[in-house]
Amino acid sequence: MPLLQIDHMTHFFGGLRAVHDFNLEVVPGQVRGLIGPNGAGKTTIFNLITGIYSPTEGTINLEGDNLVGLYPHQIAAKGLARTFQNLRLWRHMTVLEHVKQARYSKLKYGLIGAFFGTPRRQREEEQSDRIARELLELVGISHLADQVVTNLPYGAQRRVELARALAIEPKILFLDEPTAGMNPEELDQMMDIIRQVHNELGMAIYLIEHRMKVVMELCQVIQTLVFGEVIAEGTPDEIRKDPAVIDAYLGKEVEF
């Protein structure tokens, strides 16, 4: 059974049909890519899955549970974690606080613990501290743990977002253009980190990318989206050769 199954998802912004008849099956541990020109509706698909918008039509199921109509925090707590195309960090919080914050749904000490600092709170906060530091280690920024995020270079901020998403212990990790704005060196590092995260934690990954190199090297299956519709789906080799893809997208602006 697929982990995530989306059937016939369509979404309108007013009169604009941003996504049309979108279907998706993600199996555990799979790495999938979503490519397409700017404005094709890729980010909208992420926003629909993670509950920021509700689809006009269609169904979204995670392990058989319907996700449509749930609040974003509920969907996230079920194991769908994401990063954002335009970074969304908390500007007054430190790196460590970012990652610990994403443990919110895992904490059980409640308001009594928060008000009175019970031993249980001590225990749970210490545990989440440990997990957060491990994740920072994994993405290579443990030395920045106590820095406020606004002081960090762009590449490091992207890693904070990644570590924060991982703290949810996701079943599927959604990465919205994880290498946007990076130079070639940072890009290689980010690809290594994504590979390593996948190797060590083994969750499924669904990533939106602009750079062909990234999707072609990382993904097992790629979908191409144009004007809200999937025009091709297949392995990197199939996508590379697909005449519709070349015609609509690749041939014009991107080379391999």
Partner: protein
């Protein structure tokens, strides 16, 4: 020492050198040493304060460091400065300096023994200093209790406006709800008065139940806050500010029209139960709980909601629950503070809880510093002192405080001390060890 940056003027460099030299001897003094110094200072004032004041040409001990006198009789400014130096600054400084070794050693011993005992000893010392200081005049006693209440109010407003970053104007409404609830219970049930008639229950029982009464006031304020919290799910910024302002006026006119609580005439005759130890204990308790909360991951959710709500949601934070908690929690403490306030002043009146109080509480939060317990304490303290100092200028006070607020917003938009963590356990730690201290500790052990 005093390595300031190169482009500062020679005068500034000289001044910072002087300050560094003054700070040097006491740089190793722990909080315990400073508290011992303050204790000596307030005892000294009891012993020789009056004679010194007379010698310097003042008729009485200056009540609030002389800030009130300064505006009335500017000619006394040198006397006031001299008095403050001789009575407060020098003794505190000298004792903190001389006791450094002993204080560091005792602080370490205490912390080793039990950290809660160590905290308690420090709190008791702070109380002792306040108590002795207040012994000198009833006016001081009143002002100190009002400042302690203001600290609760400021910290609780900071939860909503600072930690969660909503511009809420409803705090006077919450304070009023707590003040009236507590007053109706104490005046109505436990004392003989003209308005509600003879006491229905023994006064002693009421004294005993006073904490429960204050908590009930807090609960009523928290319930009232739901009216503001629910719209905050959907709206932020200006709209929420307007809704919360409307709430404040609603509460005010509610009490103006409720004859049951005295209407516009107000309600008096509250028993004198908000004594210094009572108010002090509530302030400590509220700071402890508020600080615990804002340092937990649940409390940090307020910051996440403030800085980016969509990201907070995507990271599993239940933002509605977070907002509801912040409002209920902030309003609860405002209500408790309201109950205390009513029993310090021993009279409440709807017009107390209007736009002037709003200006004052906002000034305390935004001047002191957003997202900070230290800032809340500093804000409550300084705005209250200022407000007392400006009391003779009644009308101008309402020019100067808003003006101050505007200046702060321009030059330090987040306030004096903002975005800090308050770690009392860290504050009471012994400071660095000098050679003498090591010897002292060896000898004492």
């Amino acid at each position: 020492m005093a390595a300031t940056n190169n482009n500062s003027s020679p005068v500034r460099r000289r001044i910072s050198q002087i300050f560094a030299r003054i700070r040097e001897p006491v740089s190793g003094a722990p909080l315990l040493g400073w508290l011992l110094g303050a204790l000596v200072a307030v005892i000294l004032e009891q012993l020789i304060g009056l004679s010194l004041a007379r010698m310097l040409g003042m008729s009485r001990i200056p009540a609030l460091f002389g800030i009130v006198i300064v505006l009335q009789k500017p000619s006394l400014i040198p006397s006031v400065i001299l008095y403050d130096l001789l009575i407060y600054v020098l003794p505190t400084y000298i004792i903190a300096w001389l006791s450094t070794a002993f204080a560091n050693w005792s602080a370490a011993k205490l912390l080793n023994f039990n950290k809660w005992v160590a905290v308690l000893v420090h709190i008791v010392l702070i109380y002792a200093v306040l108590h002795i200081w207040c012994d000198v005049s009833d006016y001081r006693l009143l002002v100190v209790r009002l400042i302690l209440v203001a600290i609760i109010i400021t910290a609780s407003l900071n939860v909503i406006n600072g930690y969660m970053g909503e511009f809420s104007c409803s705090h006077p409404g919450f304070i009023a709800l707590g003040a009236y609830m507590a007053s109706v219970l104490t005046v109505g049930l436990f004392v003989d008065d003209n308005f509600y008639g003879p006491a229905l229950l023994p006064t002693n029982l009421g004294h005993f139940l006073f904490p429960v009464i204050l908590i009930l006031g807090g609960v009523v304020a928290a319930l009232g806050s739901i009216i503001v919290a629910v719209p905050s799910f959907k709206t932020r910024g200006d709209y929420l500010a307007i809704i919360s302002l409307a709430f404040m006026f609603m509460v005010k006119s509610l009490f103006e029209n409720l004859e049951f609580v005295g209407g516009a005439r107000g309600l008096g005759g509250q028993p004198d139960w908000a004594t210094l130890p009572v108010v002090f204990s509530w302030t400590i308790l509220s700071i402890w709980i508020i600080n615990n909360f804002v340092r937990s991951t649940f409390g940090k959710s307020l910051n996440a909601v403030r800085d980016d709500e969509i990201a907070a949601n995507a990271m599993t934070v239940n933002t509605r629950r977070t907002k509801m908690t912040a409002f209920l929690f902030g309003a609860f403490w405002a209500g408790v503070a309201g109950g205390l306030f009513a029993h310090v002043i021993r009279y409440v009146n709807p017009s107390t809880f209007g736009i002037q109080m709003l200006a004052e509480v906002l000034a305390m939060v935004y001047f002191g510093g957003l997202n900070s317990i230290q800032g809340s304490i500093v804000g409550a303290f300084s705005i209250n002192l200022l407000s007392e100092a400006l009391r003779p200028l009644e009308i101008y006070k309402w020019l100067i405080i808003p003006l101050l607020l505007i200046l702060v917003m321009i030059y330090r938009p987040t306030g004096l001390i903002s975005f800090t963590e308050f770690d009392f356990m860290n504050m009471i730690q012994p400071k660095r060890k000098t050679k003498e201290e090591v010897e002292y500790a060896a000898a004492a052990d």
